[in-house]
């Protein structure tokens, strides 16, 4: 019993230690580069919690992080690594904005329809890698990565075509907007929108699918042991595709939140949003559980938004936070070493 308890403690401690190590190495990086890490982290803190506007914007930033984290986590649970969240997010963003701008419908239909369009686009973008994995055993990692670049270039081209050569789409109609006067005024007119509610709702949806449905059970079983699941009569290919599609739908929703809530349109991009890749960090830190994803998203979303304050307040390039995020993933991946260290520590204590 006592070893069980310490195991659970260790499971919680590993991500915590990874985060602390990440921040620590981040501080060393700043120090070595001739910046003041204390000033840097104070600027980061101020950027996150400085005033009600900052808090509103931080929560806004957390919204897509939750959804991207769910997308990665859901695929992970089925034994799939969806690095394509970034691309699925981009097509979801575009599809949501397109439906939001091109149709004129009452809000009760228009808003859900636009959100669904985003989810559907993301799901579609993930369907192909799932299909290739299921039918031809082509590793999903490479296909999803390639799909990211295709999404980026195709959506850029679509925006150009739609706007007649411009670099941004039309704005969505009010009836498709997630904007909220109430939330906005509550936080000193930040861009906080109703998307956070959608995101939290999806956390429940993921928990429900995984824990309360047969489908979820099958998906997890395939993730645990493909051969045993097949022996038990489950269709491996179908489950792989389904898992990718659900994962892609979460990712598409993340894009829809950006399109319908934060920006209200879409611009051509020179590179990726980064949200999809940070979603990997969110999922790993949250141990691929729905609740864990919330914690991961709060942490990384806050770091990401707060970082924007660092160049102004402390003259430190905001990329240092991206270094910290990458390091946290690295240290979580090295969980074995941290675990080993912790077990040795606790054994020593026990001997005393």
């Amino acid at each position: 019993m006592s070893t069980n308890m310490s195991n659970r403690m260790i499971n919680l401690l590993v991500p915590a230690i990874a985060v602390i190590l990440g921040l620590l190495v981040g501080a060393i990086v700043m120090l070595v580069s001739g910046y003041d890490p204390v000033a840097g982290y104070i600027a980061l803190w101020q950027g996150i919690f400085g005033d009600s506007y900052a808090i509103g914007e931080t929560i806004r930033q957390i919204t897509p992080y939750i959804l991207a984290g769910l997308a990665v986590a859901f695929a992970f649970r089925t034994g799939l690594f969806n690095i394509g969240v970034e691309g699925q997010l981009i097509v979801g963003w575009f599809a949501a904005v397109y439906v939001g701008a091109a149709f004129d419908l009452p809000k009760v239909i228009h808003l859900p329809l636009s959100i669904l369009a985003g989810a559907a686009a993301g799901a579609l973008w993930a369907f192909l890698p799932g299909l290739l994995k299921a039918k031809m055993k082509i590793h999903e990692v490479i296909v999803t990565i390639m799909m990211n670049y295709i999404a980026l270039h195709v959506v850029n081209a679509l925006i150009k075509t739609w706007s007649g050569g411009g670099d941004k789409t039309e704005r969505i109609l009010e009836s498709a907007s997630l904007r909220s006067e109430f939330l906005s005024s509550l936080t000193d007119y930040s861009r906080l929108h109703y998307g956070i509610i959608v995101a939290l709702l999806m956390v429940v949806v993921m928990w429900f699918i995984l824990e309360k449905t047969t489908t979820g059970f099958e998906l997890k079983a395939v993730g645990f042991n493909e051969h045993a699941s097949q022996y038990a009569g489950m269709k491996i290919g179908k489950n792989i595709i389904l898992s990718m599609v659900i994962s892609g739908a979460f990712a598409g929703l993340a894009g829809a939140m950006e399109g319908l809530g934060t920006f209200g349109n879409m611009y051509t991009r020179g590179g990726f949003t980064g949200i999809g890749f940070d979603g990997i960090a969110v999922a790993l830190l949250g141990a691929n559980t729905p609740l864990g994803v919330i914690f991961g998203a709060v942490l990384f979303g806050s770091l990401k938004y707060g970082a924007l304050n660092m160049p102004n307040a402390a003259q430190i390039p905001e990329e240092v936070v991206q270094i910290v995020i990458a390091l946290v993933i690295f240290f979580v991946a090295c969980g074995y070493a941290i675990r080993l260290f912790l077990t040795k520590m606790s054994k020593k204590k026990g001997e005393k």
């Binding site: 490479i142 990565i145 390639m146 670049y149 150009k160 993933i329 991946a333």
Partner: protein, 319 residues
């Protein structure tokens, strides 16, 4: 424009694009043949591209026209050292190698951009004064048809890439080290029983892969973009990874696949001046190399099986 003219136009561009991919894919071959999945190639390439440009900018006055070549060595060393991180995580700490690779990719880009902002105070570096030069090979470029296709405006780096591919083939298939490398990637326990130090071989392989990816990145930045920014490498490392799989983890196969992907990229670049292809809007053309990569993986290779122990950390005594 006739068919031959198109080829005269396309082939040199293809080969130029292929060179960085060849180097990086060979890096992948070393790493994965030893049993370590190396999705970190992208980040290692980013690092190489950045160091190449940085070295070139700072030391042009010292080394003159040799600068780009010495920059390749600098990039090789730094990326080789950077790869140790991936080695430690995947070999000693038994990390999920794909996750560790993703972390290295993010870290490489973040460090390079952080330093770029710190040094240049903007999102990208200055342009280098001296890129890797291209030249006409004497005599050979006068051969009809083949001459203008393969020997006009050749980058020295492309010749180097093909040479290194052959050397890699020799090392992996004809030397004791290569035999050990392959053994460690297929059946580490058997290799261990025969007295091969599994982890040592894997460390060496991952460091070599970092060094080669670093050279690849520095070639790309010093021939194609001539500066460094967030979108410089933009998936080249992943494409090299695909080339490695497409080439079935064989050095020469990887080289061939890399040339094929180079051709796909050249199509996106020179497409607007080729009939039929120029009908496609340029925006979509940019997506073409990636579409071709997926098609290649889906259509031509069927089921690709890598080295047997690929991705599994070796734990002594476990079955």
């Amino acid at each position: 424009m006739g068919f031959l003219d198109i080829l005269y136009f396309m082939v040199p561009v293809s080969i130029a694009y292929a060179a960085p991919l060849i180097f990086t894919a060979l890096g992948g071959v070393f790493s994965e043949r030893s049993g370590v999945v190396n999705i970190a190639l992208e980040g290692l390439m980013v690092m190489g591209a950045f160091i190449g440009i940085l070295f070139n900018l700072f030391f042009y006055d010292t080394f003159g026209s040799w600068t780009p070549w010495i920059a390749l060595i600098a990039a090789m060393v730094v990326s080789g050292v950077f790869a140790i991180l991936h080695a430690v995580a995947s070999i000693s700490f038994r990390a999920d190698q794909v996750v560790s690779g993703v972390a290295i990719n993010m870290l490489g880009l973040a460090i390079a951009l952080f330093l770029t902002k710190m040094i240049f105070d903007k999102g990208q570096t200055d342009f280098i004064k001296k890129a890797i030069p291209n030249f006409d090979v004497p005599f050979l470029s006068d051969i009809p048809v083949i001459g203008p296709m393969f020997f006009k405006g050749v980058y020295g780096s492309s010749i180097l890439a093909i040479a290194v591919a052959i050397v890699t083939w020799y090392v992996i298939y004809k030397t004791p080290f290569g035999l050990r490398l392959r053994a460690v990637g297929e059946h580490p326990m058997a290799a261990d029983t025969m007295g091969v130090n599994v982890n040592k071989i894997r460390y060496i392989a991952v460091i070599i892969s970092g060094a080669l990816a670093g050279i690849g990145g520095a070639i790309y930045s010093q021939t194609m973009t001539r500066d460094f920014g967030h979108a410089t490498i933009n998936g080249q490392g992943f494409m090299a990874l695909a080339a490695m799989i497409f080439g079935k983890w064989h050095p020469i196969g990887a080289m061939g696949a890399a040339i094929f992907f180079g051709f796909a990229q050249a199509l996106a670049v020179v497409g607007p001046s080729i009939p039929i292809i120029k009908e496609i809007p340029t925006g979509y053309l940019h997506a073409l190399p990636y579409v071709v990569t997926i098609l290649a993986l889906a259509g031509f290779i069927g089921k690709a099986t890598g080295p047997k122990a690929n991705g599994k950390p070796y734990i002594k005594g476990s079955r």
